[in-house]
């Protein structure tokens, strides 16, 4: 018998007991729908995390100073004041480094006319947008000349600009930072919250200005380094380490007076957590799919019992074992595959509803849909084969006499 003939038989049979077929499929529908929706949520979460982390800056290495050593007392990491602007500019000379932004920040009061807000005042250089993945919405960013000449110019984060009631027409106007007048040079585009800190709530001014007017040191707090490519992160880390050790004149036995954090490690950890989450959700959903498969097996066994006489008749008029086997197997497969397809539709609708109502980011990947449908077909074969075999091996004489 051809597949078409078998499908025709299966469909006409399923059509004669619509309610039973629908209820049997319901198990698979729920299973597949939950696989689609839950894996969608898992992957959506994963891609949100990845997107937010890469918003921190691509291929980012963060160099921070080490601990102070006061006699036998070791201070906290980052408490030392060993990093300088000169360190930053020499790191910029390394081959694998694309951009370097030294940072020196503190809290301060910013005033525009009658409005004021307390925010982060961050001193840096012209590479800052490249290193930290900012884009300018209006005006322009600090230039090398601004830093060199210690000009009092400022670029506002999106949140700070809103807090101060400043829009794109504010470029060129004057604001007060820590009591000193600054010219507004640009406004950043909003970036969103990546970690625990709102990256849009800050005022960026030349690092030289911070050193001159606010802190009075020659040090910087951190140096952000954007590495040319993902592959050269380790090489760049090694190069920066040896460069800084040389510049800080450390003896070969001395420990580093700085540390280098790799953004990619954080990203990998986060994505492995969300991959585990996806796997977990998918696993839970798969269990309901298997339960659906058992439902199919149950109904197929009942069906074989009920149709014993029909099987006997079919055998008497020339059906071979494999014809009966194929008939029942295709019936089970039709139930599960149809359930799988309906389940995908229900899953898509559920995902759409969840992302609309719950604000969840959901990623629907065609591979997930394909795997869910394929898995439901596999369930159909797996749980259909035993009932079908029972039907196929029935003795025609006993089956014909069965009432």
């Amino acid at each position: 018998m051809t597949l078409l003939e078998l499908l025709r038989l299966a469909f006409s049979r399923l059509a004669t007991s619509r309610l039973r077929s629908a209820l049997t499929m319901l198990g698979v529908i729920i299973g597949v729908a939950s696989v689609v929706a839950l894996v969608g949520i898992g992957q959506g979460t994963s891609s949100t995390i990845t997107a937010r982390l890469s918003g921190l800056g691509t291929n980012l290495l963060t160099v921070t100073p080490g601990a102070t050593q006061n006699g036998n007392t070791r201070g906290a990491q980052g408490s030392a004041t060993t990093l300088t602007l000169a360190d930053a500019s020499s790191i910029r000379g390394l081959a694998n480094v694309a951009a370097v932004a030294p940072e020196l920040s503190g809290q301060g009061l910013v005033t525009s006319g009658a409005v004021n807000t307390t925010t982060t005042i961050l001193g840096t250089t012209s590479d800052y947008p490249a290193v930290r993945a900012y884009t300018i919405a209006a005006g322009s960013f600090l230039s090398d000349l601004d830093v060199e000449r210690q000009l009092r110019v400022a670029v506002l984060g999106a949140t700070t600009a809103i807090d101060l009631g400043l829009g794109s027409n504010a470029i060129g106007s004057t604001i007060q930072i820590g009591g000193l007048p600054f010219e507004v040079k640009g406004i950043f585009a909003a970036k969103g919250t990546a970690t625990f800190q709102n990256q849009d709530d800050e005022v960026v001014i030349p690092v030289s200005v911070v050193q001159k007017y606010f802190v009075g040191t020659k040090n910087v707090r951190t140096i952000g380094v954007s590495v040319a490519s993902q592959d050269s992160m380790d090489v760049a880390t090694a190069e920066i380490t040896s460069l800084l050790r040389e510049r800080h004149a450390l003896a070969s036995t001395a420990t580093n007076d700085f540390s280098i954090a790799n953004q990619a490690q954080l990203l990998q950890t986060a994505s492995s957590i969300s991959a585990t989450l996806t796997l977990l959700l998918g696993g839970i959903a798969s269990i309901s799919l298997i339960v659906g498969g058992i439902g199919i097996m149950n109904i197929m066994l009942v069906s074989v019992r009920e149709r014993t006489r029909e099987i006997g008749i079919r055998k008497a008029i020339g059906a071979r074992r494999r014809d009966i086997l194929a008939q029942f197997l295709v019936e089970a497969l039709t139930l599960s595959l149809l359930g799988g397809l309906v389940g995908v539709v229900v899953g898509l609708a559920t995902s759409a509803a969840l992302s609309q109502l719950g604000g969840l980011a959901i990623v629907l990947n065609p591979v997930t849909l394909g795997v869910a449908v394929g898995f439901s077909a596999l369930i159909g074969v797996l749980f259909g084969v035993w009932p079908a075999r029972q039907a196929a091996v029935l003795d025609p004489i006993a089956a014909l006499r069965y009432e």
Binding site: M1, R309, I317, P396, L400
Partner: protein, 224 residues
């Protein structure tokens, strides 16, 4: 000598129930030539159903040889038996045994499905046979919508559609009233005149009288 459609040589069929062996058929020898209409007559429990199962290739003899249309069933596996049933034998049962929730046309076409005949061809051939048996206005009816006589005609049409060498009828009038039963026997005689070989099993001597030859069976033994 004419060709034998059925050739049983000293066929014995034993059934094993627990430790006791029950002989249902003992040393049965029977030749049915092409074009014959043979009635096998015997009371219930005489072994006639066992004989029918063996001749119908639903069962195998415990000993002896059974050849149907020249093929020894001992040489065939289950699929081989199924193929022999499909091409050589048409069954007519006492309780009609039509497929439930299936139209008369599809019922009659089903044996052709197992021969691998295409759907269009199947339906055309089934419609022709139903037409010949006077059921052309009933082809889209399902079994419960048909009278007993009509159901048995559909069953005969299903047996005929493959143009088998042998029609095997098991109490074909058993579930019919006497008037419809007489019609059915007339139909079988007519088919036999047209050249169809028929073996009919019955307990009723009056029914058996329709056949051109009677073979009696008692306690598993054939009496010519």
């Amino acid at each position: 000598m004419t060709t034998s459609i059925v050739s049983l040589r000293r066929v014995t069929r034993l059934y094993r129930t627990r430790d006791i062996e029950v002989p249902a058929l003992v040393d049965a020898s029977l030749e049915v030539a092409a074009g014959e209409f043979v009635a096998i007559v015997g009371p219930s429990g005489s072994g006639k159903t066992t004989l029918m199962n063996v001749v119908g290739c639903l069962d195998r003899p415990t000993s002896g040889t059974c050849a149907i249309d020249g093929t020894d069933v001992a040489t065939l596996d289950d699929d081989g038996l199924a193929r022999l049933r499909s091409h050589t034998i048409g069954f007519v049962f006492q309780s009609f045994n039509l497929l439930p929730r299936t139209t008369a046309l599809e019922n009659v076409a089903t044996p052709l499905l197992y021969q691998g005949v295409g759907r269009r061809d199947r339906r055309a051939r089934a419609a022709r046979v139903l037409d010949r048996l006077g059921l052309s206005d009933r082809i889209h009816h399902e079994p419960p919508e048909l009278s007993g006589g009509q159901q048995q005609r559909v069953a005969i049409a299903r047996a005929l559609v493959t143009e088998p060498a042998l029609i095997l009828a098991d109490e074909p009038t058993g579930n019919l009233d006497s008037h419809t039963g007489a019609d059915m026997l007339a139909l079988l005689r007519e088919l036999n005149r047209e050249g169809v070989t028929i073996v009919m099993i019955t307990h009723d001597p009056l029914v058996a009288a329709s056949a051109s030859r009677q073979v009696h069976i008692a306690d598993g033994r054939l009496v010519a």
